[in-house]
Amino acid sequence: MNTDCLTIKNQDMKNQYKALKYRSLVLLVVFFGLLSVIVVIALCVGASSISVTDSILALIEDNGMARSIVWNLRLPRIIMALLIGIGLGTSGAVFQAVLRNPLASPFTLGIGSSAGFGAVIAIMFFNGLVNEYAVVTGAFIFTLLSSFIILGVSRYKGATAETMILTGIALMFLFSSLSSFLQYLGTKEEVHGIVFWFFGSLSKAGYREIVMSGIMILIPMPFMFRFAFDFNLMTAGDESARALGVNVPGVRMFSIALASLMTSGAICFTGVIGFIGLVAPHIARMIFGSDNLFLIPASALIGGVLVLSADTLGRTMWLPHVIPIGIVTSFIGVPFFLYLLIKKTKEYW
């Protein structure tokens, strides 16, 4: 009798926990639905006068101009926005988990500013204003360089969160002052180009860019899920994670390398939109909790929602001007973030 009662209670506990996770799963589906709705809206709005029906019909049949606009201009832009949101959201969540720091983001490790420096070099010395691939290559090379430096220092000094964050912040300052130095030497035209690059823009998104950044962003994804449970353990301290059998330095270095690659894939093609990397994981955490098995996909979805809605608003709100995406993401991300922070403050940290 007594044991029966225990089993029931025991089942009860397990089921409550499962219910909690089901709730998260349902929420993920809801967010996915929301994202799909935004995708459809984004497909239907734009500067040209093609109608909503034409925009949707263009997906399945050849209706001339509308088809070309939807397939060549809107769709690539939307896919790129989604990729960027997914890349920055996921890598932000991973950085925060493995560095055990709620303030970590692609910027903390200097990835944003090293990409910026690469872009500045390309704009000033390799004709980056005309040849956009020079900018992409420059940004990519320097993000790789900064992650190699971080990983190198970690190999030498031990891959603790503190070593990495301090190295990253040092690199961030180094690269941003190098960028400032080059800008200081720049001409009027170059400085203009650099400022615009730092604002971020999806205007240049085409299918070739999508393939390249898709490779960098989507290939690391399965690994991130693979390590999600390990990330959970690592947020609770290196020592106990190691005692439970996690190869802490290995997982940390590997996932930092992959997350850097994802960040790089997101910002090289479009400029620095780094705020998403900080905020999407926090919004996800306030809604889904800290279990990385859900936090990672949720951050990806929320990142996608934020970037896509920011870009769609940015290109339609003030027609025909385009408000730079970096600015709009902050406009819509910050108030939402503050709202959640105030509302949920009691259960947060």
Binding site: G46, M65, I69, N72, R74, N127, F196, L319, P320, V322
Partner: protein, 359 residues
């Protein structure tokens, strides 16, 4: 004891300040004395429209950007240039004779100490760059900062005449100002007969950043008789979507490039490549201008700045090939370089014209 100490301290500060005060008085007295000795001052209008009094004639100038330098050279005032901006090396071939002048830092962030060392009568800078801290830093040395732009078509002739006056080359200033006016007038007169002006998309150096009202590119487009796609814009340099450009169907497209230096180019390959890449943007084959091969790429040397007028002639000719059939921008450019700048004409400044008609 404490009181005594504080008294002593007060005395000490006074002792520190008094000599300083005396020095200041002497300096300002000397300043006014000089002004008294050297003739008179004139009142001019600067880029902000402020009335400013300048002691003339100005005998030494520190130049903070290429636009002023170019104008000074066309006024034959090379030897007044005591110091120059550091980025001059980028235009080394064009400004060869200035390469040995002392450099005082960047066009947007000059070094006040270096300028003070050179002790020029005035510093000439853009309206907004460097910031007003330059005035604050230099005023104790009696160095005046003059804000003149020389890149806006509407005001450049007036600014040239002003500059001519204060450096004692009034005659040259008038001549050059008149030359500008004449070139623009020729175009304006013929445009009077045009009823339907073609739509023009003007793209500045960064992709998808257009030139709206307030930018030099917009002025050039208007002077060349184009109807700027962005003429209702609220921002001088705004980003636009590809979709917007396509839906507006511009008749002509102009793009500025700032890579390298037209003065040193021997062929059109670079401009042609930029043009072809632009025409190959997704769905741009739907644009009228692209279909008709009316995409043109211009060098930054004739884009805004003192030679914008040459850019305008090129643009006018590309927009209205027949109307301006007899205008030869290269000839005008040559005339400008040889008779005003006194350097031989060279270089290539625009992409090849594929739309037919004369080049």
């Amino acid at each position: 004891m404490p009181r005594l100490l504080s008294n002593f301290k007060g005395f000490n500060t006074a002792g520190f300040f008094l000599p300083g005060l005396i020095i200041l008085i002497i300096i300002s007295a000397r300043g006014t004395a000089w002004a008294g000795e050297v003739a008179q001052s004139i009142v001019i209008e600067d880029a902000f429209g402020r009335e400013i009094s300048v002691n003339i004639p100005v005998q030494s100038i520190v130049v903070l950007n290429s636009d002023v330098l170019e104008v000074l050279r066309s006024l034959g005032a090379q030897d007044l240039v005591k110091g120059i901006y550091s980025e001059i090396t980028k235009d080394g071939a064009f400004f060869q004779e200035f390469l040995d002048r002392p450099r005082v830092g960047s066009w947007k962030n000059a070094n006040a100490e270096l300028i003070a060392d050179l002790n020029p009568c005035i510093v000439i800078a853009y309206e907004n760059n460097p910031g007003t801290e330059l005035e604050k830093q230099l005023s104790p040395f009696g160095i005046q900062v003059l804000r003149l732009n020389f890149y806006k078509l509407g005001t450049i002739a007036k600014e040239i005449i002003t500059l001519g006056k204060i450096i004692g080359r009034e005659q040259q200033g008038e001549t050059l100002g008149a030359w500008y006016g004449k070139k623009l007038d020729v175009i304006q007169k013929r445009l009077d007969s045009v009823k339907e002006k073609p739509l023009v998309y003007v793209e500045s150096y960064s992709a998808f950043h257009t030139a709206g009202p307030g930018s030099g590119g917009h002025d050039m487009c208007v002077y060349a008789g184009g109807r700027n796609l962005a003429d209702e814009f609220k921002v001088p340099y705004s980003e636009v979507t590809s979709e917007w450009v396509i839906s507006k169907q511009p008749d002509v497209i102009f793009k500025a490039t700032a890579w390298g230096n037209g003065f040193e180019r021997n062929d059109r390959i670079f401009f042609n490549n930029v043009r072809d890449e632009m025409a190959a943007r997704p769905s741009w084959n739907l644009i009228q201008a692209v279909k008709n091969n009316r995409v043109h790429v211009l060098d930054s040397g004739i884009w805004t700045g003192p030679r914008a007028v040459i850019g305008v002639v090129y643009m006018a000719k590309r927009i209205y090939p027949r109307l301006f059939n007899d205008l030869d921008p290269e000839q005008i450019h040559k005339e400008f370089l040889e008779s005003f700048q006194r350097i031989p004409y060279q270089g290539v400044y625009i992409s090849e014209n594929l739309s037919g008609g004369s080049k």
